[in-house]
Symmetry: C3
Subunit: 160 residues, 3 copies
């Protein structure tokens, strides 16, 4: 019997295009029978944030960071050619036209397929985020050691 292959994806970026690439790889891998773990860190945390304004903020500095970088999958923007939202809007329109899943749909599909979502506790502390600020689908809140333990078992490990 063939051994199951593992994949880990560090999602460092909170950009729409990179998040879409990460979930496309995760969902394709899962559909091929791979075990997939996604480790969301730094700006990537915003992809799995609820996006509520009333998040667990502890200081004025964190409040400012949160306002400038509002979380939530639906608010992600392109890394390039955002053009005040026009480029992002265009990209979303094209994806719809070609019947490609949106980021929100890709997240739901990943969950159905058993992809694991891990949030980086170190980044959470810096950004003033608490567990309740994240979507319910997050499996665990862990540090880099847990990620590296998974990555050493992975055949494919990417930093996105």
């Amino acid at each position: 019997m063939a051994e199951q292959e593992n994949m880990t994806l560090v999602v460092f970026s909170g950009d729409l295009d990179k998040a879409l690439a990460a979930f496309n790889l995760a969902n394709t891998g899962a559909s091929m029978g791979m075990k997939v773990d996604m480790f969301f860190t730094f700006w990537g945390l915003s992809v799995i944030e609820k996006g509520s304004l009333a998040r667990g903020v502890k200081s004025p500095m964190q409040w400012m960071m949160g306002m400038m970088n509002r979380g939530g999958a639906s608010r992600r923007k392109l890394s390039k050619m955002n053009m005040m939202g026009a480029g992002t809007h265009t990209m979303k329109g094209l994806m719809k036209r070609y019947r490609m899943p949106s980021l929100e749909e890709s997240i739901a599909l990943a969950r159905e397929q058993g992809v694991k979502f891990l949030a980086c506790t170190t980044s959470m502390a810096i950004m003033g985020l608490e567990e309740s600020d994240f979507i319910d689908e997050v499996d665990d809140f862990v540090g880099a050691a847990t990620y590296l333990g998974l990555a050493t078992e992975g055949k494919v490990n990417l930093f996105i």
Copy 2:
């Protein structure tokens, strides 16, 4: 007999500096006897586009995306310090002075060395690109499943 090592590179970025890094790794690996597959996706597709304006565009939205992000290796810009082209021009001048291959020369060298070029069909659909929009050197037009099949055989897999 030593087994041949495999490397896969996801070229997500269309920036000159990242494309140069990708081809430097690909060409070095190939010269060391590694089997190298490059998977061009999203903005990275622009690196292997012909760059013609008369590309296979199907909608006004795709036409706009194409105009804003004109393809072709010779049109790639630095990710930072482009400075309206001055930074990119300076970098190209320094590479020439130090007899380093340009991006176009690196692409040709990669082909001579047997590096495989794969274009991501999912990204092509979103961006309205057809097979005829790419340089002849592209080996195949494939999805993420083909890439992941190669990556699970790879000793070195990077997302650039």
Copy 3:
């Protein structure tokens, strides 16, 4: 006896956030007993530059590049939300408040733990940098072939 796991990190980016992520992974891996090699290339070279203005510059073009992209760990900025320095300043304040090591402290910790620092000679040539422009902690000045030799031994290889 368990075999030692190896990790290699290509540090392509000179952004503060990505450098912090790279050193967090390197230091966590080293504390878990992994052998860690960091290969600094392109903008990433700035992380291990001394940051002196009197660096080994050979041409006006290189002088301009150096002025625009002043090296040194203490001068790294966020990839997003730098906001003329306010975002970077805020991030540094939050890290201090949560007793997280600064980039400079992370570099020192990595050295204590035996993490190897390798500088890419190809990028150095383009940017007009000489060995004396780098901090003393750099172990070696090597090309992509040396990096790839290490990466083929690595369980975890990331491009940051």
